[in-house]
Symmetry: C2
Subunit: 309 residues, 2 copies
């Protein structure tokens, strides 16, 4: 046993999670494999989210972890969050270029083989719902549209905090329509998501979100986001009680995606959109933090709710 | 209705799949979202694979779609399959560099903003089991080890064939141990996987694999792979009867990963490894091709086997 006192709480919780087999370190900060029990909790929590939304008539869609680079370039993510992006690069040369690539690769302490790569037609997905919007170009039905999806999200923010992974999954319900339809979706899910988390013993607090917009210019965007109260987060202590972690968010995008991808509501105006998203790894991390590392010792009500008993 | 005669069979099947809501085009060849029914078939087929392997005592692990760049650099994937790689690049500059990045981005018809990015610590995963091996450094128990995993795999091979996606999922059982343990795993799964596919109405043929090693040097590797009969594939017609598509493979890696990642079998020799992998999207594509686009009309035996009835 190692003495844990003095360890940063984030490093300590990571150590506990790795020791219990829940996380598998991959040698890069914020990059982990997941053990079977950890994954099982995520699977069961997802079933609860689906059950909660079941009566709403959402259309189920799934997207892979990468999406069209041209679609990425249609939004302003690179202006707001350049430090988080993941651009996919490939090798498109012939045999001669390959010999040169391999030469540099073999000599990689001195040379940068990656300069011989070219940008592929794809980017890693920065938020689970981004790949949805480009395909919805056109006019929505009068009642708007509702989608459910789950996907992998990449954010390049290497960290010692196990709750700040570089790649993780979000499960979302996305609403498109008029301003009223979009804000009603966001507002109703603030309560529904909070209640849902409560049923698995997570006492989440609702706060106005504070996204990490980049740089000095970002300070204005950040202030504006707070002032307009566009996005709310449900936060739970994971590695800090002072700075609890968002495990879900309810986000109203105004007509940002409607304008970017020519999506119109039935009245001919650019569609407004809103989504509720659950950070699945963070929910699991909050559950293991709150109830203990062994699901067998979790409170019986929580075990039943997650079909663990 | 459009006239379909004259259309390439791959384009025609893609059109059918998109029309039925099974695939959602993302505007890049080989990049698709998945509809709810398509995903449901994958979920149910995975349950069958798990049920088949359940008694074998495999340890369940899960890895994200990216893994450690240093681990990628420990194997010779870049020598053999440079054209398939996906390297993740990020922006690590400050505010000044960001202004320059955005300037180039705004002027991207003329300038290449991606040259301002730097390689991140991660690569897209080229085969689902690659992230497993580095963490197993050390000596295996006498009986060896068995893992089950599922993960996203990236291969940069833009194609009109819906069965040749750029990103897809593999479910695998990976065996590590002595040469006998590894080859026994591969050999037994040739029959088990074939039988499993038969139960859902897929009449798969077992063939020696022919991996697309790159370039002239690759021709030797390809011949050697065939000659040693290291890898077998189970192929089913999807978009071509002459060139049926591999929906599963049984691969013996000799001591390739044992040597690369210092994994020893109990006798102190570099571990030998073997895996069976199911290409989940391809299995679903083969099922929709064989039984029709609407799961409601699939043969009752297949529907029952996949818990669709």
């Amino acid at each position: 046993m190692c003495v844990q006192d003095g360890l940063d709480p984030r490093a300590r919780y990571t150590q506990d999670l790795v020791g219990a087999g829940h996380l598998i370190p991959l040698g890069v900060p914020g990059l982990f494999g997941r053990g079977g029990d950890f994954e099982g909790v995520i699977t069961r929590f997802q079933a609860l989210v689906r059950a909660e939304g079941q009566g709403d008539g959402a259309i189920e869609v799934h997207f892979p972890p990468i999406f069209n680079r041209a679609h990425y370039c249609s939004i302003s993510h690179i202006h707001n969050f350049p430090d988080l992006i993941g651009s996919v690069h490939s090798f498109t040369g012939g045999e001669k270029e390959h010999r040169e690539l391999v030469r540099k690769f073999e000599n990689r302490a001195e040379e940068d083989w990656t300069r011989d790569l070219t940008p592929a037609d794809s980017m890693l997905v920065p938020a689970a719902c981004y790949p949805l919007y480009p395909g919805l170009k056109g006019t929505l039905p009068a009642q708007g549209s509702l989608y459910e999806l789950v996907g992998w999200v990449f954010r390049h923010e290497p960290s010692d905090d196990p709750a700040r992974m570089q790649i993780f999954r979000q499960r979302e319900y996305v609403r498109l329509g008029t301003e009223d339809q979009a804000t009603a979706h966001r507002d109703s899910w603030m309560q529904r998501a909070r209640d849902l988390l409560q049923t698995v013993g997570l006492d989440a607090e609702l706060v106005v979100a504070n996204d990490p917009f980049f740089g000095r210019g970002g300070r204005m965007a950040k202030a504006s986001q707070r002032e307009q109260a566009l996005k709310y987060e449900l936060v739970v202590p994971i590695t800090s009680t002072e700075k609890p972690t968002a495990v879900a968010s309810c986000n109203y995008h105004r007509d940002y995606f409607g304008l970017a991808f020519d999506i119109l509501s039935a009245d001919g105006q650019p569609a407004h959109t809103a989504c509720v998203g659950f950070g699945l790894e963070r929910v699991a991390l909050a559950l293991f933090k709150t109830h203990g590392l062994d699901t067998a010792s979790w409170p019986e009500t929580v075990r039943q709710r997650l079909s663990l008993s």
